[in-house]
Symmetry: C2
């Protein structure tokens, strides 16, 4: 492309409404433009990058034997009611009525439609396995869109679905996709970790996430200082450690604690550490109230709770409800005498003589022990902390942040059962089909690449996804020889299959260099005064110095580098 005659722009100032490096750089590079909250236009320069990511994803999907199709955006709401996911998605689904008042949703993910599509194929066990995918625009009405293309409401996703007769075969299909994802992440130049994760609203028996590691990541990726253990924070087990504490159980006692409500205030009052406390958190879960007991230094892990109770939604109980179950003002909840079921974190079972709220305003109880109250359930419901013990090897856990770019699920028979996808075995007996599903966010990958590949001057695209691999910058467009050399090189490289952009704009060379750096072109050829002597300058985006090249050797050298 010749820039002089094209739709090209960059923005000098930082974007005021972007809260991430990638969002800011993509906007400034003229690659995306915000249309409304969490909804972006992908501008021409960005579309080229997205198209290259799409091609890589498509190639790796096709290599697994998966077949591409295309599902609609508008899906009758009843389809999600049938699978039981209408409620699970709730307000996260955009919903609307057509002119005849029929209810539709905008597809947030397409397990249901793929299951329905699969019913078209024969139902003999011999018709399996197969794998279908699409690259399509999806919609989720996020509460709080943010970080440029990372958390958006409209996004392009590749979603694949595998169909098998049994778990063993499904595992084979799953692993094919798993390996394809590794290849995709590598071709995109992403540094990543694969972590086990919660299956959530998807259902199924296994979920793994492909997390691009970057400080802006919204997910905490838990690793180990010693072994290969890797897991999403949401599901990482807190290792159960029996205490060797031989302390005697003391007699509990109610103590007046005026003006002390938070753990910190109460700890200060008693001159004790936070881990001598057991905190009581009161939640409303799918309409029912529960109290959760945790060591004072722990946070509740909501994902574990939802899974434990097989529930969809949880939120902290409001003040009225807290006062109702504790018969006290907020801040004095405790396990003794509370009027709702108690779920206790496993770790508390090893604690002795701890302090809890008294369910009485301005009072706590000291020297409480597990024998002093009844609980409905004891389970691992706490969040792990950095430095906790690795569930695999016993060394220390480390934390990193990641952007979930891809995920893979073993869905089992959940969708096949609810939507009637069955196969006949050798004896004509019917069974539900085993499914897997595999998502990959193309726009999110684009943002993650920028988060991992940038510097003060802008983006540094890996050559595999750069909008153009090479930029030819003409220093003085009025110099006939420079223009002749640059144009000839442009045509020569283009003909050789290299994506080249020719910066022949009427701008100062400094502006051109800055722009080519901002938009992240990996290699630059500068055609300047040396042109008359048969020389140009070469510079990689990551280098700090120019190299002098002979014009005659430029094509061959670039072919070598780009390849």
């Amino acid at each position: 492309m010749k820039l002089s005659n094209s739709f090209f722009y960059t923005i000098r100032e930082n974007a005021k409404d972007e809260d991430s490096v990638s969002g800011n750089l993509l906007v400034r590079a003229g690659m995306i433009k915000k249309s409304s909250s969490g909804i972006y236009m992908i501008m021409p320069m960005g579309k080229r990058v997205l198209q290259k990511i799409e091609t890589i994803v498509r190639e790796e999907m096709d290599a697994t034997g998966a077949q591409e199709l295309l599902m609609p955006v508008l899906i009758p709401e009843e389809v999600y009611e049938k699978s039981g996911r209408r409620e699970a998605f709730g307000a996260n689904m955009f919903a609307l009525k057509d002119r005849y008042q029929k209810r539709y949703v905008m597809g947030p993910t397409h397990e249901e439609l793929f299951t329905i599509a699969a019913t078209m194929k024969g139902s003999s066990y011999k018709d399996f396995p197969y794998n279908l995918y699409q690259i399509q625009t999806k919609f989720r009405d996020e509460t709080r869109p943010r970080y440029g293309l990372i958390r958006v409401r409209e996004f392009i996703m590749k979603d694949a679905y595998s169909f098998d007769v049994d778990e063993e075969s499904m595992h084979v299909s799953y692993m094919k996709m798993f390996h394809a994802y590794k290849k995709i992440m590598e071709r995109l130049g992403l540094t990543y970790k694969i972590v086990k994760a919660d299956t959530g609203a998807m259902g199924g028996s296994l979920s793994e996430e492909f997390q691009a590691i970057t400080p802006i990541g919204e997910d905490v990726v838990v690793g180990c200082e010693h072994c290969d253990f890797s897991s999403n924070l949401e599901i990482t087990e807190v290792v159960d450690q029996a205490s060797d504490d031989t302390a005697e159980l003391r007699q509990m006692e109610v103590v007046k604690t005026p003006d002390a409500k938070t753990i910190e205030e109460v700890a200060a009052f008693f001159q004790k550490a936070a881990d001598d406390f057991v905190k009581t958190l009161i939640y409303k879960i799918d309409g029912k109230t529960y109290a959760f007991l945790l060591k004072g230094t722990r946070e509740l892990n909501e994902t574990k709770v939802l899974k434990l109770l097989q529930a969809n939604e949880m939120e902290l109980a409001d003040f009225d409800e807290v006062e109702r179950v504790t018969h006290a003002k907020v801040g004095f909840a405790g396990p003794i005498g509370i009027a709702c079921p108690i779920i206790m974190d496993r770790e508390v079972t090893h604690m002795k003589n701890f302090i809890v709220g008294a369910n009485q305003t301005d009072h706590h109880i000291v020297n409480v022990n597990v024998k002093d109250f009844e609980v409905s359930m004891i389970a691992d419901i706490a969040q792990v902390k950095e430095g906790d013990i690795c569930p695999v090897c016993g060394h220390r856990l480390t934390f990193a942040k990641g952007i979930e770019v891809g995920n893979t699920f073993k869905l089992g028979t959940k969708y096949a059962e609810s939507l009637g996808l069955e196969y006949q075995d050798e004896t004509n007996k019917l069974h539900p089909v085993q499914m897997g599903c595999y998502g990959f966010g193309l726009g999110r990958a684009m943002a993650a690449i920028v988060e991992q590949h940038n510097d003060a001057s802008g983006i540094i695209w890996p050559a595999s996804v750069a909008p153009y691999q090479v930029a030819i910058v003409v220093v003085a467009i009025k110099d006939e020889e420079q223009m002749r050399v640059a144009t000839a090189l442009y045509e020569e490289l283009s003909a050789a299959g290299i994506d080249v952009v020719l910066d022949d704009r009427k701008e100062r060379p400094g502006v051109k260099f800055k722009d080519m750096e901002l938009i992240g072109i990996p290699y630059r050829i500068t055609v300047g005064r040396g042109a008359v002597d048969g020389k140009v300058e070469f510079r990689a985006r990551t280098a700090s110095e120019n190299e002098e090249w002979l014009i005659s050797e430029t094509k061959a050298k670039l072919m070598e580098i780009v390849k």
Copy 2:
């Protein structure tokens, strides 16, 4: 692709809920599957065709220098309010609220967003012209979706938009697209006509349609038996013919016409032909009532009326309103004494001594003349009929039916003015930008191709868009030699860049032949008993006989044909 190990199906029976040849064949060929009214899944075999159409469209767009981008589906409703199109689209736009009650629509066409996007580029006259396009899914809540992919509610469209400083330059941009569209239609193997059409809700000064000619077409394409004239029925002028009638004006007279209301009944009563009558039609247009006068043999052309009155919506007035303005029962409306403005078709000015309703129940007036009543406007508001006079050469008009696959518009400054897209001329004076827009329906093109290319056995894809160019059918898959030859050929042809499908399913040969014919593969190689003698059979989809080919020459011959 090897069919034995893939997601492949066909359907033997006709689709009960498809009302077109293409809809039925695409469903039966496993290319599409209805998801809900006017909304389809594009299944793997169909996706391959769609992808090839997409590639052809993209190539021709890129060849004009247009740059691709991607717009969102969800667009804030206020954007269409600004351009004044929210009302014009009305219930045809899918509309919804997000979780914060903000109103969105699902983009039916993207003039507004492209105009907004264009503001990012510099505003000097030197920054123009440029041309942007996207290939994207669009949504229109059609009253009555029908004909498979022809009239749907969710569809893939290529839409391009050109930006120029003046009309002259805009015309150059327009013609580039116009020629690209001709190339696309030709590469897709479509027989088509280019017709002038109404600019409708789009606005602007010129609209041309690329109509694929087929009996199922919803548009009437008007042509001429003699010259090149071509126009959409909606806007074709009724040629004004001065009558050479020297008849004297007679005295008008009210006549009782009991039980005669329709033109036919009244004509029978008076023993006169329908063209001795002038009919009076009463419409409600944007809330106001009008009477229209037309020769008894003519139909009203609503497009002409809407344009004439610059109105958005019109419908026949209800009975109450008719009785209010005529002071009579429905069926006796006429121009004399009616209580609303009259718009008269130009043709009526040449009529004499005609019959009209008397605005009095069971009465008509004979020998009425134009001097006997007053009209607000005289204009060409009638529909042309086949056999009418060509406005260009005076010969007879012919009618054909067409599917509107593409359209091109000169939009002028409508969107630039309402959305603030301006440029500065050499003297720094500001002017609104001249725009053009260019739509092309990919799914509709796919359906139109099938409408034009099919026979009793199924689809006959042009090689340019066929899902596979060649099918290799193995007669007996248990025959090792046949499988060896077929597989070797499959690999040889694939390596040579030909799209080949290998039908190695455990099915009878007849089933395989039928399937390959139904899905419309242009060329078939049958590997059967001749394989041991180094021979295969070749057959074009359109031929009725096999040709015997040497295996050794097969690749070369196919390369020749496919190219």
